[in-house]
Amino acid sequence: MNISELKKTANQVRKDIVTATFYAKAGHPGGSLSSAEIFTYLYSEEMNIGPAKTDDPDRDRFVLSKGHTCPGLYGIMAELGYFDREELKTFRHVGARLQGHPSMRNLPGIDMSTGSLGQGISCAVGMALAAKITGKTYRVYTLLGDGEIEEGQVWEAAMFAGAKKLDNLCVIVDNNNLQIDGPIDEVNSPYPIDKKFEAFNFHVINVADGHDFAQLAAAFAEARTIKGQPTAIICKTIKGKGVSFMENNAGWHGKAPNAEEYKIAMADLERIGEAL
């Protein structure tokens, strides 16, 4: 693992997020930016996955349960060569493969169509169960938002995964503390998140800084050692991370930058990149 390279990749993913939402004049930059290191670590280091094996039955699976943050997923996929980076500019356009929420029938490499919150984790559970039934050793990763876990289905899925001891399932919660209508603990607090997953028989790992690759690496390594129960990795993050005016601002959950904001955002990310 080359942390310096990973940091550069995450910064590129952030530029891709800003670019895709700018050209779409729509999309969800805030929660995409908070997950940039998670996307980067999963696709660059953790998962057995890649553009040459999108149909490989033995590949690891990734389900973006918080599907609205697909600009970040598309960013890392472009980085890894699933498609040309220019295609990011077609995001959310008519006829595009890069749909507003991930569509497995439109874009090779998307393991599940998502967008309706709470469903992706259940689909990931189904994939993990399929591996157990067929004796395959692939792992299944799914990324949820902290607002998303207000959906009851998340806990139905957690109950099943815990009860069936799906230790090939790794649930990641991006805990950026903001949802559309404001701070999650003001809207309808899902806290304590870790204790809830523990109560559903998960092994829980708290990551104090979800933008720190060393902490992410340690968490995913620990998850691999856990047998007999699924793992939940709760990552504290900053919504809008990397773009000065978007950081910790719920207003940037689902809004695209205009031309002037796009310039500022890209300049912010250029400065961060130069410092790396």
């Binding site: 169509s113 309706s116 559970v125 189904g126 169960l129 399929a130 139905e156 099943f160 069936k164």
Partner: protein, 313 residues
Amino acid sequence: MSEVKKIATREGYGEALVELGAEYPNIVVLDADLAGSTKSGMFKKAYPDRFYNCGIAEGNMMSIAAGLAAAGMIPFASSFAMFAVGRAYEQIRNSIGYPRLNVKIGASHGGISVGEDGASHQCIEDISLMRSIPGMVVMCPADYVEAKACVRAAVKYDGPVYMRFGRAPVPVVFPEDYKFEIGKGNVLREGKDVSIITNGLCVAASLEAAEMLAKDGIDAEVINMCTVKPLDEELVVKTAAKTGKVVTAEEHSIIGGLGSAVAECLAEKCPTKLYRIGIRDVFGESGPMNELLHKYLLDGEGVYKQVKAFVEG
């Protein structure tokens, strides 16, 4: 028809799953704590390592089925029609329908023949809801034989399928060697005065009604339309052109089900006088099945009276 053998269509579902489980090692059956009632429990007994009880959580069950299908399995998700479709509609729409995943939904206890449990458990909207999802195949078999044939056809078909089964024993209409094809209706009785297009338990009722109509000099054609989607439009148009009067009969709301599918087809392709027999925009209620079917005019006599009034009116 008291001498006729009666078996519930859900029995056909359970038996077909057991038979197909031997042929298809990638069939997985899910239920939501109703395995005894939906008859998925028969599969559980035969293949305990390929049966998973999801507990009382239908939405999660449907999305798990989607994940299983995405990983190459052929999942059957079972519950009562009310909860499979009503509770989990959006999971079926977004996790299964939108990605066009190879999930089979086996819903038992459709319609008012659920009986004593009453309106909360009598789903009369499932066909309507499932029909509106792009790409979803929707079937409502008439008897035990057709139910088994539906399940077999569903496994061979690559894509999402909704199958509605009933709780109550219903007359066996079809011979054991019945050849079933998704999207094809069949003429059970030729006639020239009126066409009754029907499915589910209304098939036996419609055949009974046709005998009663014959005594009044009305020659009814009876068509079994198990597949509501894709609809056999060719057969609908053909029979409408032949008799000039069409009645649909189903154990479902007249809004959105077989009646609506036939109405849409005829309005566009062969405008014909039409009457829809079904639940007329009301909820069901508790009661013994036969009394309910009588009250809501879905037994042989109820179908007879309505067809006669339509033809003579």
